[in-house]
Symmetry: C2
Subunit: 367 residues, 2 copies
Amino acid sequence: MTDARRPSASLTIYDVARRAGVSIASVSRVLNQQGSPRPETRARVLRAVRELGFVPDGAARALSNRLKEVVSVVFRRGGEAVFEGEGQSLLFTDVINRGIEPAAQHRGYDVLMSSVELHAQHAAERLSALAAKSDGLILHDRILPAAGVAKLAKRIPIVTLAGTPAPPAVNVRSDNEAGMRAIVRHLLLDHGYRSIAYLSGHADSPDNLARVRGFEIEADAAGAEIFAGPAWEGNYSAAGGAKVVTSLLAAGGKLPRAIACANDQAALGVIYALAERGFEVPRDVAVTGFDDIPVARHLQPPLTTGRQPIWELGTTAFDVLYSMISGEPQTEPEVVLPVELVVRGSCGCVPEPVSPPVLARADGEAR
Amino acid sequence: MTDARRPSASLTIYDVARRAGVSIASVSRVLNQQGSPRPETRARVLRAVRELGFVPDGAARALSNRLKEVVSVVFRRGGEAVFEGEGQSLLFTDVINRGIEPAAQHRGYDVLMSSVELHAQHAAERLSALAAKSDGLILHDRILPAAGVAKLAKRIPIVTLAGTPAPPAVNVRSDNEAGMRAIVRHLLLDHGYRSIAYLSGHADSPDNLARVRGFEIEADAAGAEIFAGPAWEGNYSAAGGAKVVTSLLAAGGKLPRAIACANDQAALGVIYALAERGFEVPRDVAVTGFDDIPVARHLQPPLTTGRQPIWELGTTAFDVLYSMISGEPQTEPEVVLPVELVVRGSCGCVPEPVSPPVLARADGEAR
DNA sequence: CTGAAAGCGCTTACAG
DNA sequence: CTGAAAGCGCTTACAG
């Protein structure tokens, strides 16, 4: 397989030097603002650069510099079809990514976005390829087990998102436990509900584990009746949330007074399934989410939830990675961002008037 | 501003060669599957590579190869706040990007995703920086005027998305004109409506221009009464679509029997505003969209629209760019993908039963 | 089949 | 302040 190479005699720093009548060293200096070239020299170089439309080759700079000024972001793709349900479920990852990028640009870095198939085992190959092309890696959840991260992190700076601390990698996450505790306290203490369930996310996700923990601490402390067990296992999706309720009701199970869902997606499903069976939220059952995705405030009733600083998760991830690339010693294995309790109507509070009217209905996840 | 450099004595091909007891040339050959090394040699190299965990440096390869195996994708960001309305309006760009990426991976390429602020004038700087780091560029709509594209395309292979042909760049788009013609024919011929409006997108967008053209051709041919003019100018957003209807009605204007919207977003807004004023779709007014975004099939009534092959737009863009990078001569200035008429309920047809029920309401765009 | 060596396009001590 | 030269880590003719 011989793929043709691009011939294109592209212009180099030598062309610029020749045109400006100086050495390549001088060209490089004015381009990189090193030393203090004579104004005359500077002007001639700049003119030559402009006239030629010269852009220094990134690969050559990287090789000479030992700095590519590129970081890679890796996330899982697939599972869902492209069109069905992707809108909401991918939003979380996308918003984080959109936070990473401007932060990188701010430092003159560019971002290689790379997905790995959901069920692909060869994530390692992908990571090697990316490591070759970048100065550091940002790994979303479920890309590599902690042990693998720790190992790879010896070769290249790594920041994990919503993962597990795996030094020398640094993990950036939000304070799930405190966020869930605030939600549960609001439900049990402010509203005085006496029975409550936690509808879980992926059982093994670090975020989910932290939320369960927060839930249990406060539910126990308040002495509330806890609904738990396999019947309450969701998977972060609306379909999963709906299914939990549907199955429970079909089996003749009892509902708690409040359901704290692992995330907003699941809460959507729960509210839908409840409505379908004639239960009204929050009158019959209070429901809360987690994340504060865009749609949350536009639900009927508006969703009470824990607001994750999603965009900031992205910018923070880059900033931390940048400091690692710059050789600053990392003192902490984790950076934890605060989660804010957002009280709206689904918990039983009277919602504030919502400003813009609802324009459309979102895509329902296939079940 | 002296940023610290990473010291890390990373291992090189020399380390591998030494360990394997061969020359660096041999290491390179087995790694790149060039020539036919003796099995013995091959085995030793492979073992050394494995034991050392060696990954060849991308920058060095790129420099030597004159091939970075990286392409850049550039799109506009911003305008909207992150949380409000971003969900749907960014979907189009995101889905295209998600089509680009696997196509690139398939060829061993990686993708630099880079946004440019909506109102930034310095897109040129951004593009230079990216050009330095990649073998080719994929530009979304409204990044650079055609003249600028044509000029830049002399330096580096460029594919534009939904733009205007600007050789030597190649434009990839879908057949907006044919798609809109099919929609209008369906409305006027199949349903027999006698009056119709085109609610436009950004006036200067090539996509919009093509859709207007398709609209006019068929509306004229059918001899329908056409509602047009500044009152019908939208901006591809739901808010824009709603505003057109609201303003029209407030001014005591008359409604046509059918409204063909420039895209689905706008159709959402139109349907919402119509419902708010007591008009029922499609009974009172038929409404159609364009794009077939995920939510389209879940609207009430389900939206009749023109399905753009969004994902394929992405994969095609990469494939074309790849062939340019590989030095294959480009015979066509454009690649046009077909648009499929998707008939659902909003045009007046009886919709097929929709499978999954609606789970939630989407975020309304702020107005 | 394999190795010595040149070269890819930059940056950066080192002299001057 | 400026230039000649070495070196970044690879790939690839060119000999052998």
